[in-house]
């Protein structure tokens, strides 16, 4: 996987919002490569820039107030940020698809599910009405909606939350994209439905050889789904590693904090075990200082963290962190 060139290469992507309260530094120069067939997860808490990063790649940032200040998104040899509007629209319809957190906001209530999935097929792939309709039934069938031939006539409100999310996936996959960006696609769903969707995506990924960017705040769900994890904080990637390495050897104090604050369903409460929260709150990202954005909440912070924001550096094979401190040396008892 590593010896080929990446499907997509994000370089120094920087997006800001100019608001009444000041400039929000939403995404601050993030860079990463995504390979063909690879699934990466972008994790982090609310407001850390996960969605803005995805919307920037898709060129869906509302401007104003938003602005992609600089960066490159090289997708199959072209910089998406420099493409003309029409060409970008075509990329969105055929090569990159996105599923949004709330399916109700992206499904139009006045059209049938079938019509909405058929639309892009006819527009981008020039399919005939009949061919598109047949394809829609196939797609709904593929995402596990029983009685698909009948169900195409349903309106979004007649579907349950899980069915709507599956319809969204069918729509996203209709043009066989090379890349699927899923922005918290299961957050609003119950665990049993979430498990259905995750199994579905795993199966389709294998069938279609897609790359996936899965955005979530749930370190549980991506443990069994992603090959590599990017941890974001305050618009920066603060740690990235292959999935097993990240969970076995978390090395940024924020990642460590996230993992330690989680209860685990496979482990009972050992005598007296308390959850270990991260103190304080995430920053508001308006006109930030030069300090490491995590420093005010970090139990390991040293003098330097308050004056200089660290950039990503390698600490192992494909494992990078943005931190001045070596937590394994500073506090082996915490890391275990």
């Amino acid at each position: 996987m590593n010896n080929q060139s990446p499907l997509m290469s994000v370089k120094d992507l920087t997006t800001r919002f100019h608001t009444e309260d000041g400039t929000v530094f939403a995404v601050n120069g993030i860079s990463y490569d995504l390979f063909e067939g690879e699934t990466i997860a972008v994790v982090g808490e609310s407001g850390c820039g996960k969605s803005v990063h995805a919307l920037s790649i898709m060129r869906l940032i509302p401007t104003p107030p938003g602005e992609i200040v600089r960066g490159e998104v090289t997708f199959q040899g072209r910089d998406l940020l420099k493409l003309p509007r029409d060409a970008m629209r075509h990329v969105r319809g055929t090569e990159i698809a996105m599923i949004f957190q709330d399916p109700m906001t992206s499904l139009n209530p006045v059209f049938t599910i079938g019509y909405q999935i058929a639309e892009p097929l006819r527009e981008h792939l020039n399919m005939s009405k009949k061919a598109a309709e047949e394809r829609v039934v196939e797609l709904l069938d593929m995402v596990g909606i029983s009685d698909a031939a009948e169900r195409v006539k349903s309106y979004p409100h007649e579907f349950s939350g899980g069915m709507r999310q599956r319809a969204m996936i069918a729509m996203a996959l209709s043009c066989m994209p090379k890349l699927l960006i899923a922005d918290e696609p299961t957050t609003a769903l119950d665990v049993t439905i979430q498990a259905q969707i995750v199994e579905l995506v795993k199966r389709l990924r294998a069938e279609l050889n897609m790359s996936i960017i899965w955005i979530t705040h749930d370190l549980g769900i991506v443990a069994g789904l992603a090959e590599r994890i990017l941890v974001m904080y305050a618009g920066y990637i603060v740690e990235t590693a292959p999935v097993k390495e990240l969970y076995a050897n978390p090395s940024h104090p924020y990642t460590l904090g996230l993992l330690r604050s989680l209860p685990r369903v496979d482990k009972g409460r050992a005598a007296g075990r308390r959850l270990i929260p991260i103190a304080g709150l995430p920053p508001d990202q308006i006109d930030p200082t030069n300090a490491c954005p995590f420093a005010p909440r970090c139990q390991f912070a040293v003098e330097r963290c308050l004056s200089e924001n660290p950039s990503l550096k390698s600490i192992g094979p494909r494992h990078q962190i943005a931190c001045w401190v070596n937590v394994h040396e500073a506090a082996p008892e915490v890391v275990r």
Binding site: V198, R274, P277
Partner: protein, 338 residues
């Protein structure tokens, strides 16, 4: 039946909402949000109430607190029957029962200062006055980890976690013994969830509180609860001590629910077996005949389509409403006798 270990005893509780049509609001059916539920909560324990969206958790919590007038059944709190109490006495009695809401953003009045919000229950119940009240409010804020100076600020100036602390301070104002916490951490960030859970555990230790902890986060339940009730479509399908539930779930619904929860460990995830349920939860306005779970149950038998299983205690402090579980339990106990 009640003893002094029991703080809350609920028997055959039903909460149906009418479905109406037309200008005359003719009742054409009933949403059976809570359908014949019985359980007890012991003093000082945390009972978890779990289940999927729409299964009736919030409705059950509200019906217990008499925020809904139950359709049928009894609710005995600290030895006293609440469903037949006159309104006036009810208000006094229910000051010892409080609720913490899921959404710290909409549950606080945006036009009131934090101090006024926390003070309000004291005013309503005529507890303390003037200077004394101010001191109580300051103590409450400090108790939940907020600065007493915050009393003069407004809710919008605070983060989600801080607002949830304000809601907890308010709930504690009248020295309650019993608190229904309705998804108190669901809308909070992971790193903040742990802060609130630890606070709730500390308050329980200090004040001897009893919690009904409503959630769909089964990982958190295992951490915080002593016993767990699993709901499905208006009914309790399994009720047991927390370790027994996680180590030996007997109801097929509980089994699939537990298997569906992701574990933040890729090595564990690699080998985990999932029981993926087909389809969706049926509507509580039109529950299936027989067992409510029969439409999705991977172990369904002929009998499940016709008869409704009752909640039965199959092991000490472990009750299940399922014919399949009952049968395998009978087989197991017969083998023991042989």
């Amino acid at each position: 039946m009640s003893d002094n270990q029991t703080i809350m005893e609920v028997n055959n509780l039903k909460m149906y909402f009418p479905i109406t049509r037309g200008v005359f609001k003719r009742t054409v059916g009933w949403t059976q949000a809570v359908d014949d539920v019985s359980f007890r909560i012991k003093k000082g324990e945390t009972l978890g109430l779990v289940g999927e969206s729409g299964c009736g958790k919030t409705t059950l919590g509200r019906a217990i607190l008499q925020l809904h007038k139950p359709t049928a059944g009894t609710v005995k709190f600290e030895g006293e029957e609440l469903t037949t109490l006159p309104r006036r006495d009810l208000r006094e009695r229910t000051s010892r029962m409080q609720i913490i809401f899921q959404d710290p953003f909409s549950s606080l009045n945006p036009r009131m200062t934090v101090g006024a919000i926390v003070r309000e229950p004291l005013v309503i119940h005529g507890v303390a006055n003037g200077e004394e009240r101010r001191r109580v409010v300051e103590e409450l804020l400090e108790r939940v980890g907020l600065n007493a100076q915050f009393a003069n600020r407004f809710p919008h100036e605070f983060s989600g976690g801080q607002r949830q602390r304000i809601g907890i301070a308010r709930a504690l104002a009248l020295n309650p013994t019993f608190i229904v916490a309705d998804e108190p951490i669901t809308s909070l960030d992971v790193s903040i969830q742990a802060q609130i859970v630890n606070l709730m555990e500390d308050l329980q230790d200090e004040l001897g509180l009893t919690y009904l902890f409503i959630t769909h986060d089964l990982s958190m339940v295992r951490h915080i609860c002593d016993r767990v009730a699993v709901m499905y479509l208006g009914k309790i399908v399994e009720l047991s001590g927390v370790e027994a539930l996680y180590n030996n779930a007997m109801h097929p619904y509980t089994q699939s629910l537990l298997s569906a929860i992701p574990v933040p460990d890729p090595v564990v995830e690699e080998t985990r077996q999932r029981i993926i349920l087909e389809g969706d939860v049926p509507s509580p306005a039109n529950p299936p005949a027989g067992c409510n779970f029969c439409t999705r149950c991977p172990k369904v038998m002929e009998r499940c389509f016709h008869a409704e299983p009752e909640l039965k205690e199959l092991a000490p402090d472990h009750s299940v409403a399922c014919f399949v579980a009952e049968e395998s339990w009978q087989k197991a106990s017969m083998q023991k006798e042989v």
